[in-house]
């Protein structure tokens, strides 16, 4: 939390007075607050993010600020794909795992069928030994 008279990271970056009801103050008052807000401002713009946060319930604003900060930094790192490249990579990973899983499950079901074929005689022998 900001001290009395101490501007939040967003207002520091914008070089404006940090008022009492500043929408950014609760989420950009940490050490990296100014740097994170700089990325947000460069990619999305302060007014867009301010409107976005104002339309959300207070309880959800913290998570929204974090995710917006993440997307802004991702977009600065990769101007073409942003955070969507991460989604593509994960999607591909899931697809590969699903394929691998399907193949192994087929093998497992074949193994089970083979075990079943080998066992009837053993099962009968086991019952006859029980006499």
């Amino acid at each position: 939390m900001t001290g009395i008279g101490s501007p939040c990271g967003a207002c520091k970056f914008l070089r404006r007075k940090c008022v009492n009801g500043c929408v950014f103050a609760p989420y950009f008052s940490h050490e990296q607050g100014a740097a994170h807000f700089a990325a947000i401002h460069k990619v999305f713009g302060a007014s867009n993010v301010s409107k976005l946060l104002m339309h959300l319930p207070v309880a959800d604003r913290c998570e929204a600020a974090l995710t917006i900060s993440y997307e802004a930094r991702a977009r600065l790192q990769d101007p073409i794909y942003g955070c969507v490249s991460h989604i593509f990579a994960l999607q591909q990973q899931v697809f590969n795992l699903q394929e691998q899983l399907a193949s192994l499950k087929t093998q497992a079901s074949q193994g089970l069928a083979m075990a079943v074929q080998l066992h009837p005689m053993d099962n009968f022998l086991s019952t006859s030994r029980g006499l």
């Binding site: 007014s47 959300l56 899983l101 089970l112 075990a115 006859s128 006499l131």
Partner: protein
């Protein structure tokens, strides 16, 4: 807003901004007039000037088009999930990957178990024409119990195999069986993503122990049973209780029938012997005694 005297319609960007859509409009190719919502989302998140700055910083047309695709996608996801946006999708994908990896581990363990079992079976396989000893007594016909029980094991094992396959199918249904591709529309069509950050992972964590226990096969340790039939019973007991009950019931019934038949045979034999004894005694009584006692 249409161009005066022209037939081309203004793009969604110019329509929204209520300005003339010139021939050199940079956003016209990305925001067709039939989809105004797409531009509204992008405008709401990025703003026109930021979009133009991002595009103008890129060199090739392909890069610009790719960037616009991702900008449109990102703004669409943010419109749909205002709190978490794309990060929510990333978290859910991470959860899916963890789940798939666990499932892979479990199936690998199952496969190793089958391979070990197969190896053990190949080492200690019985002679092919081995049959259990049957009773063969005098006039009685030999009782061969083998043909009576050949059908039952197959039926019970096939039922169990289908039950396990159904269980596997039910497990795979959790992942929707959707073919994954890099098409953004796949992600857009997902309905399972909610705004709450922790719901997917919590559900995953909640179902994780259930997944492992219902899978049933011995992941940790295969019980070291001296005989194959003991090990086989343990395996099927852990896989499907219902099927294993049926399996053991069949085994119990077959054993019971065997015992019953043996008892039946024994009673018949006893009766035959008793009948012979009675015949001998009656014959001796009816015939004149060879050594009659004299006074």
């Amino acid at each position: 807003m249409t161009v005066k005297g022209g037939t081309s319609q203004a793009c969604a960007a110019c329509k929204y901004q209520r300005r003339k859509c010139s021939a050199g409009c940079q956003l016209a190719r990305y925001f067709p007039p039939d989809n105004p919502r797409m531009f509204q989302n992008a405008h709401k998140l990025f703003g026109v000037s930021n979009i133009l700055r991002i595009i103008n910083n890129l060199k090739t047309q392909e890069e610009k088009e790719e960037a616009m695709r991702t900008i449109i996608y990102e703004s669409k996801v943010r419109d749909r999930y205002p709190v978490h946006g794309c990060y929510g999708i990333i978290v859910e994908l991470h959860c899916k990957i963890n789940q798939a990896e666990l499932e892979l581990e479990a199936v690998n363990a199952q496969l190793n178990f089958y391979r070990q079992q197969q190896h053990r079976m190949s080492q200690s396989s019985p002679p092919p024409n081995h049959s259990p000893p049957h009773l063969q007594l005098g006039n009685t016909s030999p009782i061969n119990a083998l043909p009576l029980f050949q059908q039952h094991p197959h039926q019970s094992y096939n039922g169990m195999a289908s039950g396990i396959n159904q269980h596997h199918n039910s497990l795979s249904n959790g992942s929707n069986g959707v073919v994954y591709n890099t098409n953004l529309e796949y992600i857009e069509s997902k309905e399972g993503i909610v705004n709450s950050f922790w719901v997917p992972c919590n559900n995953f964590l909640a179902t994780q122990p259930q997944f492992i226990t219902t899978q049933g096969f011995p992941i940790q340790q295969v019980p070291e049973a001296p005989q194959d039939y003991d090990e086989m019973h343990v395996f099927f007991d852990t896989v499907d209780d219902r099927q294993s009950y049926i399996e053991s019931k069949d085994a119990y019934e077959s054993r019971y029938i065997c015992v019953h038949l043996v008892r039946l045979v024994l009673t018949v034999v006893v009766q035959v012997f008793e009948a012979d004894e009675i015949r001998i005694i009656s014959h001796r009584c009816s015939s004149p005694p060879s050594n009659a006692s004299t006074t």
